[in-house]
Subunit: 407 residues, 2 copies
């Protein structure tokens, strides 16, 4: 690996989806009874800029505490993630275990433990089997590889009850340079007695300062992972990291703007994959609110609509039930103007300025049932505020899965 | 009817559960396709003190607008309620219909329309069949009766998809006087495309001023109907009314305190009936939070736990899943102290000062499954704040019922 590997390639180069400067591995080390991959390692060839955003839950797992302390940073060398055990509610021992995971990685990479980040997801309240984790880290280190196949194994190894791997790739050209972004995520799935946890790791070879990484990540998270909901339950371990390996003059002006746009787009794609794979979900609701007093108000209204079990079950059943949607907006903690409230479902206006319109309910119902993504567009007044929010519907499968207890 | 009928009886009088001064009727007038009772009338023998508390939804049905204007009042003579049609999202015509209902009652009672209150519940977005409602009011007026049987018919006629009538009675003696309270309510049930609506009407023969009625009602609602949740969806029609027929010196000091206590207790009983009859519900969760910074904080935490679909489904399945409960408290918009957080389920401590305890999960699960009311006691710190909140669990029946659409 030479310095030139870290240079972005010219736009005419052969297609390469992964950003330069990273190597990947995913292995099974013995945490999951299912024997699926459970330890993921990403190592940076050189020190990179890194930032993180973390769960707002007041009960915070030790790996999150550790990452919060270590980011933003200009010297990160690796991210290690285990699945199958969240290392949450594990007290002082849990903190020692998280620290030890980073020490083990640091000793192999040849850096300081403070240059290693760690994520965990899975069962809570149980100690990590550290002997297995140590062996897993060593095994993963031996398998590090910069190719897509290795990236995919690393992405598999962070999953828990996800039905499928969640990865996304995007690149953008600016002048004669191509910059790449690649991301892996895991979504909402819980096995008693644990939690849904959202983890996401975004890598890029764009040259950015530490502060640019932090700012860009916060903005992207706001537009994506903070605008989705499966069941509204915030986990103790939610983590999103952004690592930037690019060297040379940091992006600025239009190039930086461009980077933010593609980062947002990539993050929204990943976030929507999580919603679509929500437990038992059969539809994604794309809830667009316009005309609110502010963007924040629009988000509160969209979030409230997306969280309503009555709206969710109406979407499950393909029921164009405007009463449930409009009344959910009405009880949101943000102002709406009832006489200026309008609603479109799947593009069809069914409530206009406070008045129900007649529409072909059977036809609209069929359309809703066959759309994997049901669009709900709500205008709540004349204000400038707008937001889009994605939520999964609520099915009997969700309830069955989460109420089954096999003691 | 003479003035002496309005005097509270001596404590030794034969048991009489209904407060003096009211007559009741419940009839079928043709709103409900099911042909169940759908028009309820309560007439006061004389002018009474009355107050109301109403939905916080910004989309407010015409009958609620009308009642909000007319309460608190010292001159109320009647309350008319129809079920099967919420008269909500019905525009100007809906306002005229609500007004006309009160005019029709006033013309029979011989008072001004402003002395009549009105409640509606049922389908939204459709106009009331006013010819039937008018006939229903006349028929009900002819059947007015002060006996328990008539009260029960009036209570039946406010129900929608309630599985059973919701009534409660309580009395208290102070000195040589007995004061009575009787209440009827309807709960959360929805048939596409309408809403859950909570209606409650509390009657008493205690002598109270208009302001005392308003204050007592607000306090009771706060302790009861504002502390329950089936699915967190606030309707456009929610209404709770308190009417006090007593004459003579208003209660004061310990007698007034006593009245407030029994009113709270009656309201909590009614509110719990609504939760127990939540759509598809198999358990009531009684969520007690202590040690919060304030009572408001405790309520926010209890409400957040009660609203979590993961907690609800755990209770459905008899799963003593402390991770879901503790983490829901952790994401509530109120401060908790993780290292002082303790949890009891069905009286058994399973999480103590941030540390999971070992417990007989199979035994506790059996206990949870067989308890119609599952107690969840959460200590979140050392503060003085405390609150109790009641919520229903979440079952496949809830989802099935609310996602069935037969267009």
């Amino acid at each position: 690996m030479t310095d030139s590997d870290l240079e972005p390639q010219a736009a005419s180069a052969p297609i390469q989806v992964l950003p330069s400067g990273f190597r990947f591995a995913g292995v099974y080390c013995g945490i999951k009874p299912s024997r699926k991959l459970d330890l993921s390692l990403v190592v940076c060839d050189q020190e990179v800029q890194a930032a993180g955003v973390y769960t707002q839950n007041q009960i915070v797992a030790p790996p999150v505490l550790l990452c919060r302390d270590r980011t933003p940073s200009s010297t990160i060398r690796a991210v290690v993630t285990n699945s199958g055990n969240a290392n949450a509610c594990t007290g002082e021992m849990g903190k020692e275990d998280a620290q030890e995971m980073t020490e083990q990685v640091a000793s192999r990479v040849g850096c300081d433990p403070s240059q290693v980040l760690v994520m965990s997801t899975g069962v809570i309240g149980q100690r990590l089997p550290m002997d297995r984790v140590r062996q897993g880290i060593d095994a993963a280190y031996e398998k590090l590889d910069s190719r897509l196949e290795a990236f995919r194994l690393a992405a598999d190894a962070i999953c828990t009850t996800d039905q499928s791997q969640k990865v996304a790739f995007i690149s953008f050209a600016f002048g004669d340079r191509v910059y790449r972004l690649a991301a892996m995520a895991k979504g909402a799935g819980m096995i008693a007695p644990n939690l849904a946890t959202m983890l996401a790791l975004v890598l890029t070879d764009a040259p950015l300062t530490r502060d640019q990484v932090a700012t860009a990540l916060t903005e992207a998270a706001k537009q994506s992972f903070n605008r989705i909901s499966v069941d509204g339950h915030t986990s103790t371990n939610d983590t999103m990291l952004l690592l930037a390996s690019g060297r040379g003059t940091p992006l600025e002006g239009p190039a930086l703007f461009c980077f933010q746009s593609v980062l947002n787009s990539l993050s929204i794609d990943l976030a929507k994959l999580i919603v679509a794979d929500g437990e038992g979900a059969t539809h994604v609701m794309a809830i667009r609110v316009e005309g609110a007093a502010s963007d924040d108000d629009a988000e509160v209204i969209a979030r409230t609509v997306g969280a309503s079990p009555l709206v969710k079950t109406a979407i499950t059943g393909g029921d164009p039930n405007w009463g449930r949607i409009v009344s959910a907006a009405g009880y949101a903690q943000a102002t709406i103007v009832p006489e200026k409230t309008c609603l479109k479902v799947c593009g069809e206006t069914i409530y206009d300025c406070g008045t129900p319109l007649s529409f072909d309910a059977a036809n609209l119902s069929r359309q809703m049932k066959r759309s994997p993504e049901v669009s709900i567009e709500l205008r709540v007044g004349d204000g400038p505020g707008e937001a889009t929010f994605w939520a999964s519907d609520l099915t009997t499968d969700y309830v069955r899965f989460n109420s089954e207890y096999t003691t």
